[in-house]
Assembly symmetry: C2
Homo-oligomer: 109 residues x 2
Amino acid sequence: MTNNLNTLFSALADPTRRAVVEHLVQNPAPVGELHAAHDMALPTFLKHIKVLEETGLVRSHKLGRVRMVHIEPASLQQIDDWLTRHRALWETRLDRLSRLANDMDRTKS
Amino acid sequence: MTNNLNTLFSALADPTRRAVVEHLVQNPAPVGELHAAHDMALPTFLKHIKVLEETGLVRSHKLGRVRMVHIEPASLQQIDDWLTRHRALWETRLDRLSRLANDMDRTKS
DNA sequence: TCAATACTTAGCCAATTGGAAAACTATCTT
DNA sequence: AAGATAGTTTTCCAATTGGCTAAGTATTGA
């Protein structure tokens, strides 16, 4: 909730962590299941989960000896919001490019 | 263009670099002007510009002794695309939360 | 109760990162 | 031609990061 974009972007910069997020947008899952998809030692993997949890992208709670992890959608929304704040401007620039490309096509034929 | 999300996200994880991107979605600008807004040595700042350029978020060319920098909108589009690929799923989860919040409100009154 | 399961904690390490200072090159401006 | 401007290159440094192994704790199943 209190997360800034720095930690959100840097959390998502790691492919392992991004894969975990992609897994969790589909369903919550226990640490063991998440870990199975990644060829690294468990303690290493747990560090990634901890990073995700510290940024607020993810939450978890223990059920017996299993830790269930689920996504925190509001955090992804923050990145979406940042993009939205600038989207209008960069899309203008994209449009300009595609118009230019169109013009060049027409000139060629 | 050939950029992966790893480098895009990690480039945007730094507040200096994000500020430069925000500046450049408005207008292209010379290095000196960009640097003026940031309290750090020029060589340090230039490293950030180089990172942005290597990820493809930005391009530059020299005009005399001045280097002009401009944004490469297609790169931001890549991040937007990644979010879009998952947006449907996490918005479903957000909806579920807000419905739950609604229910709790109604129960309270 | 005892072994297996599912994490957890603690330390260690190499590579990367964000910062600095110093010295250098290339372009104007006068 | 000389000085000022605008970057550039080089070298150094401390902190962070992503990975490992080894050893520990807490639950569960037989």
